[in-house]
Symmetry: C2
Subunit: 246 residues, 2 copies
């Protein structure tokens, strides 16, 4: 049971969880495909128990579905589910943001500024690249993106709001990931600008403006993803929120 070299850093369950999560979010394991225990065991070189436990954690995050006695599958993707996640996220984070703006102290402001810059630098570097950035780099970008958005609402003083926001972030990450790798430079949006505006409004303690900017930011992302996943289809318009304008 010992690791290659001496001490093991984390539990095998954690390892299984991280690897599976990455393979699902990055699309290596396709949506809807069944996850056979035997396969996974061979693929990751881990036993049944850690895999099973990891699969259960992923189930509670809605990344995998499971039916009793019929095993696990990668959770399917659908535009209507994506829009549900986007709109719910707006509803949750709008409230969290208002509270964070009310309660946030110097440390909160500092964290927003530093995570913003970490994100902006990374985004700039990847955007300037001529070739397609490697998946590892996209992962790092996603992490900084996550940290920035978390920093915005971190002072809201509600564990439940933070928890729900986290869950919705994970859900939308799956949809966002393949697009991030695509034509980043070609995008007509200046996402970094949007982030900066949100940051400035938050630090200026203008709650209404910050919420409006964040809402627009998320809806634009949703629209980008809609276009990416169903370029020709008109069907996805039905999933759009009723009030897309600010």
């Amino acid at each position: 049971m010992s690791e290659r070299k001496g001490v093991r850093e984390t539990t095998l369950t954690e390892e299984a969880y991280q690897k599976l999560r990455w393979d699902i979010v990055s699309g290596t394991l396709e949506a809807g495909s069944p996850l056979r225990l035997d396969n996974l065991k061979q693929r990751y070189g881990l036993g049944y128990s850690p895999l099973r436990e990891a699969l259960n954690r992923l189930h509670s995050e809605r990344l995998v579905t499971t039916v009793a006695l019929r095993g696990f599958t990668v959770a399917p993707l659908s535009l209507s589910e994506m829009w549900d996640a986007v709109e719910t996220r707006i509803h949750i984070e709008a409230e969290a943001l208002r509270r964070a703006i009310e309660y946030g102290d110097d440390e909160w402001e500092t964290e927003i500024i530093s995570t913003f810059h970490a994100l902006a630098i990374k985004a700039k570097r990847l955007q300037d690249l001529t070739e397609q950035p490697p998946k590892e780099e996209i992962k790092a970008l996603e992490e900084r993106h996550h940290r920035f958005h978390h920093a915005l609402i971190s002072a809201c003083r509600s564990n439940w709001l933070l928890d729900f926001s986290q869950k919705l972030y994970v859900e939308t990450e799956r949809y966002r990931f393949p697009v991030l790798g695509g034509s980043m430079a070609a995008s007509s949006r200046d996402v970094s600008r949007e982030h900066q505006d949100i940051m400035e409004a938050a630090i200026a303690r203008d709650a209404d403006r910050t919420v409006a900017l964040l809402t627009a930011h998320y809806r634009r992302t949703g629209e980008t993803l809609s276009a990416r996943y169903a370029p020709e289809s008109e069907a996805n318009v039905a999933h759009r929120p009723k009030a897309p304008a600010l």
Copy 2:
């Protein structure tokens, strides 16, 4: 590995989950007490694997806490956590309710009415009882209560809102349960009346009024629980929301 008589109804994991959940919510397993695998194995007559899996599910529902390599414990209770859950629930369900009122059809109305009556009848019967009702009866009452509140928002067309509402219901159930067994008759509130008003406002499609009534309903419950868990203490007032009025 075979069951007493022929076919097994569900998986052992499901059985472990249900039993553990009940023992935690009903208070049989006290908040904060450690959950040793050996103990549980003996107590429920189940193996490690089903228990472990059930414990993980309960962890994702915040009913148990866990630290890697240090086992599981029953999640602690705290007034500030309860108020967080109550206020977040209000925020989630207010939105879900508005949408349900917009989208709800005849079937939705019918479901609200029937679940209301099922709840009202049960509540009346338990209230008229002279002695303390048995735990099983309280469980049945809780189930009907849950069905009614779920019916109200069931037409909201958002799986995420419904999922979050469900999570928060479970969380608050833990706090409500011991109180339900107590002096139900002595309560100055007419809870059934509150439910009826909510039902009528919803069916009349008066969104603002329904949301206001539901908010008041949840806050009153929160206050009852505060009083029950910290009767003399002034400290819990600090956890109260800023705007308790309608």
